[in-house]
């Protein structure tokens, strides 16, 4: 049932097969206390030129989801199940070498903190040129040209001068632009951006988000952007997926998810965000309780212990993703879905 629901999502008006299809992706970290399921049965599709934001609090599995698609983990103690079909290739069936051949050229990553994700002792231009040079086997000068044009595309005006700077000589915004230039240098089809704007101030954040969108649309790159900020997700994405305790609990077009949240967690997240018209010092509607312990999840909805609408069914039976009656692409997993429209948030969604 969920597979069917997931298939319907993303395969709308355009008949072409989506660039990325994720089916029942389940990722476990194998640790000393046993195996820890950090991504649980996640399915979605994404087309080229579209931006999908994955929203969730710390530990909800959004970063692990990205890394599972990329198959890039710092340790080998990870077990990934399910299917990731990228450009008609079954990524989880590729061996390490075949997978690393996709890295950088077909799939690229942008990390959260450009200070720590850029090599501090290497000129930024060389870090951008490294991809074309090593992976596309370009000559030194051609790779440099390529890097400069990537830096320009990433919105760095005086790219030639910045080329020979070191990361610590650039501002946070510029560093993140360099990181984006690294990602786009080899012309990938999919970019996984893990909280690309978290360390940046709000103005720069907006610039980076619009840059990501513009690159995605103009070059037809599919972008999965992980964020914990619904406002960021709303303003910069075509689709939004909300994750909780490793599962996607709501997914759909950004305007729908933000303006018409059905899953109670999404609703609570939205109501918890500070709003401009609130009286100063008004208490935020924080979500009570704490994120669940992934080693101790009940049989029911993972959000039920914190949910004001939860009843016995919520604790005992896990709701599956179901399509909204208003928009077939909007899926949610909730026994007692919200029905009120949140128009003030709908305005945030630009698309």
């Amino acid at each position: 049932m969920k597979a069917r629901a997931a298939t319907s999502f993303g395969e709308d008006a355009t008949s072409s097969a989506p660039l990325l299809r994720v089916r029942s992706l389940t990722t476990s970290y194998v640790g000393e206390r046993g195996s820890l399921r950090v991504v649980d049965d996640v399915s979605f599709s994404l087309e080229g030129g579209k931006v999908l934001s994955v929203v969730g609090e710390s530990g909800s599995g959004k970063t692990a989801l990205c890394r599972s698609i990329m198959r890039l983990f710092p340790t080998s103690k990870v077990h990934v199940d399910g299917q990731v079909i990228f450009d008609d290739q079954q990524l989880l069936e590729l061996d390490d070498l075949e997978m690393s051949e996709l890295w950088g050229t077909r799939i690229a990553m942008v990390f959260q903190d450009p200070m720590s994700s850029l090599n501090p002792v290497m000129r930024v231009g060389n870090q951008v040129a490294e991809g074309p040079r090593r992976r596309l086997h370009m000559a030194r000068s051609a790779a440099k040209e390529r890097a400069i044009s990537a830096l320009k595309s990433a919105g760095i005006a005086d790219a030639k001068q910045r080329y020979s700077r070191y990361p610590h000589e650039l501002s946070g915004g510029l560093r993140q632009r360099v990181a984006i230039a690294i990602a786009i240098a080899n012309g990938p089809k999919l970019i996984l951006a893990d909280e690309p704007t978290t360390g940046l101030d709000v103005t720069v954040q907006a610039q980076i988000l619009s840059l990501v969108n513009q690159l995605s649309h103009s070059a037809g790159i599919a972008v999965i952007m992980v964020t914990h900020d619904l406002a960021v997700a709303a303003s910069a994405s075509d689709d939004i997926a909300v994750m909780y305790a490793g599962r996607v609990v709501e997914i759909g077009p950004a305007r729908e998810v933000i303006g018409h949240p059905r899953m109670r967690y999404t609703e609570a997240l939205l109501l918890a965000s500070p709003r401009l018209y609130q009286t100063p010092h008004a208490r935020l509607n924080a979500i009570a309780g704490r994120p669940p312990d992934p080693l101790d999840l009940g049989p029911g909805c993972a959000f039920s212990p914190r949910c004001p609408h939860a009843d016995s069914r919520c604790f005992e039976e896990r709701p599956e993703l179901t399509a909204s009656s208003e928009d077939q692409r909007h899926l949610y997993a909730c026994w007692h879905p919200a029905s009120a429209a949140l128009d003030e948030f709908a305005k945030l969604a630009v698309k």
């Binding site: 501090p120 002792v121 290497m122 610590h168």
Partner: protein
Amino acid sequence: MIVFVISIGVFLLLHLLPGNPAYAILGPGATPLAVAKVTRQLGLNKPLIDQYVTWLTRALHGNLGTSYLTEQPVSTTIGHAFPVDLELVILSQLIAFALAIPMAITAARRQASILDRIFTMSSFGMLSLPAFVIGVPLVLAVAVTVHWFPATGYTPIYSQPITNLHEMILPSITLAVGSVAIYYRLLRTDLIATLQEEFITLARSKGLSNREVMYRHALRPSTFSVLTATAINVGSLLGGAVVVEYLFGLPGMGLLLVNGIYSRDYVMVQGVILTLAVAFVLVNFLADILYRVIDPRVRHA
């Protein structure tokens, strides 16, 4: 500045030692008159500050005085001894790097692997073995038994480079052992820390091979501790390789220093220590420059 302070220290220390060098020169049974004469000749009756200024002025002009015993200029003797140690130390450090860097890379790449454990355990061993414990069996094995290398002897490198290198290999290996262990441990630890960095994950996400990630991204930022240790090591080994010098019959600075102290040859001891101090400072100055080359962030600090 540092050299200046050391020069005062060296000077005072030796003059505060009991015993008049005049006795050492004249031998036992010297008449008080002769002692007084020699004392005056050496300027030892003047105020200490005058003696110091005289000595320092000459030293700055490259004149470190004349040995009481050999009656040769100290600078000439040092000029013969210093290159011995310089070559010994440089060779030993090259050998140490050649072993420690690949070992550390292998170990850091596969932590807790069998190789990692073997390297780490043997580095403990190397660290705890004094030079003569390694040197003596080495001499027995490859010099005395199979005659691949000479056991002792020294030929200046400028007269017969090949013979010289042949003679220097065993002492260099002996001296390198301790350094290998230190550099291996420092580099391994730093590499493991660097490999956790996010820029390493980014480098991997570019699709670079493990080898490219290691050599292009991980190695350089991991060399700070090793560089610091090398600077200290080179500085102290230059004058501190007495055991190895003695074992292999190399006429180096360490032997010069020890013999000078035994025979109360103050002028010689002063000269040797001052030379070593200058060398130490120069080596660390060089290391400071290298820090800047390795890490651009240091350039602004």
